[in-house]
């Protein structure tokens, strides 16, 4: 029977939740790196026992941890994230130019084929790559050449939070950056272009149709159809059918189109999930009801999934990296909340149970489906 491993990053450590294919019984391991912020941890698709974790602290800075045994043991690896060449400047809060300064790694994305190859998304926004299992890191500086001088941090920081590796084209990578937008390379990371046409940010930008500056919260794709992208923007749920060349809104009948995560069903490329949040001023679910919304039509038509989720007095948030799917049949979904719950569904979202309820605030959730 398959094994499911849920990798949970929290404000105060990492937790590994392991269940069998029934997805009813779970063992909780952790906290790993107790007391540290774990923005993200993720396993290699090429070697599921190879895990990478971003461990950081306001006091002691950035660490990268690597495991070769599925998270039983860890070793600290390289943590020198040096911007290539003269770092240059980006737009600061007061409109002046400000030097790029490394703060932390928000997201780690292992290669689809090589467990020693891993990408790291940084704040201040930049993309780094390691070819030696995290031992050393090199920036892909062409990304910041894509109008980086115009990128301006929002209140949450200017982090590169999403890295999508195209399974059909190893030269193509999509990244998303808070308060900058979505960018794509078609040459393995040397050159990049902004792909934000169709996004509208009337309340966030002086020019709602600006080429960069949009606060993209998350993008997702289905590996069978990597030219179709889905996006949860600050406000608006968006879709692109041409690898980001243009976007159109698919918010439809959502009770709020503000939110953070978005993900795609493992077996149905047009089935997508979001968690509506009331607004950018009130980061909790509308009406105190925690509802996952599912569209089986690739957007526009949405249904609330509520069975097993709190439907009153619920004021948690679900952050951008805190939702994932497994690849069992039926597809399993998982998400974590700022209240420390990790909810799981073994039936494509029809019903939910909390695997754990009292973790520190959850920053990220990833899932591995192991044979």
């Amino acid at each position: 029977m398959s094994v499911i491993r849920v990798l949970v990053g929290t404000r105060k450590g990492a937790f590994i939740l392991t269940g069998d294919g029934s997805r009813k019984q779970w063992e909780v391991s952790g906290p790993h790196f107790a007391g540290w912020e774990i923005y993200h941890l993720k396993g290699s698709p090429a070697d599921p026992n190879r895990l990478y974790a971003s461990q950081s602290s306001g006091w002691f800075g950035q660490m990268i941890q690597r495991s070769s045994d599925g998270g039983k043991t860890w070793e600290a690896v390289g943590k020198d994230f040096k911007y290539e060449g003269t770092p240059g400047t980006h737009k600061w809060y007061d409109g002046t130019q400000h030097p790029w300064e490394f703060k932390r790694i928000w997201h780690l994305e292992p290669s689809l084929t090589n467990p020693d190859s891993v990408y790291a998304g940084a704040e201040d926004a930049a993309l780094f790559h390691s070819k030696d299992g995290g031992g050393s890191w090199e920036e892909l500086p062409g990304l910041r050449s894509a109008k980086g001088h115009l990128w301006q941090p929002g209140a949450g920081g200017m982090g590169l939070h999403t890295i999508l590796l195209d399974p059909a084209n190893p030269k193509r990578i999509f990244v998303a950056i808070s308060a900058a937008g979505v960018f794509r390379t078609d040459d393995g990371g040397t050159t990049w272009q902004p792909i934000n046409r169709g996004l509208k940010s009337a309340f966030e930008l002086p020019d709602p149709d600006a080429e960069v500056g949009h606060c993209v919260h998350r993008i997702a794709l289905h590996r069978s159809r990597p030219g179709v992208l889905f996006m949860q923007k600050h406000w608006d749920v968006m879709r692109s059918d041409n690898a980001g060349e243009s976007w159109h809104e698919v918010s439809g009948n959502l009770p709020s189109d503000f939110g953070f995560p978005i993900d795609v069903h493992a077996h149905e490329p047009d089935t997508i999930y979001v968690v509506p949040i009331k607004s950018d001023s009130e980061h909790f679910p509308p009406d105190g009801k925690l509802r996952v919304y599912r569209s089986r039509t690739g957007g526009n038509e949405w249904e609330a999934l509520t069975k097993g989720l709190p439907q009153k007095d619920c004021y948690v948030n679900v952050l951008r990296d805190a939702m994932a799917v497994d690849s069992l049949e039926p597809c399993g979904l998982y998400f974590g909340t700022t209240g420390g719950q990790v909810y799981a569904s073994a039936d494509s979202g029809e019903s939910w149970n909390a695997i754990v309820r009292d973790l520190p605030a959850v920053l990220s959730v990833e899932v591995q489906t192991l044979p």
């Binding site: 602290s57 006091w59 002691f60 600290a76 943590k79 020198d80």
Partner: protein, 100 residues
């Protein structure tokens, strides 16, 4: 060569996999910078956790105390007190108080 003592905060003891104080041999004058160099040389995992690995500037929320004095804003070439240099007193490396 002086043998001196360094007390690390909990999270750095965990990273370095040490219990209690660290004892270090420091050649030459026992300056703040020399002690940090010796510490990072013996425990490479600590490089970057106390001071920036490139600029060697103290991280903002790390403090250096010794003999009831605050050395946090001293330059790396400041000599530490004799009691620290000869191991009677430890150099305290402290995570700044969080407040709240």
């Amino acid at each position: 060569m002086s043998t001196m003592r360094v007390a690390l905060p909990y999270h750095l003891r965990t990273l370095a996999q040490v219990a209690g104080e660290v004892r270090l041999e420091v050649g030459g004058p026992v300056t703040l910078g020399a002690v940090l160099d010796a510490l990072e040389s013996r425990y490479p995992v600590l490089r970057g956790t106390i001071r920036d690995p490139l600029t060697l500037q103290r991280r903002l929320l790390v403090r250096f105390f010794a003999c009831k004095e605050d050395f946090s804003n001293e330059t790396p070439d400041v000599k530490l007190p004799e009691a620290v240099a000869n191991g009677v007193e430890p150099l305290l490396i402290v995570g700044a108080i969080a407040g709240g």
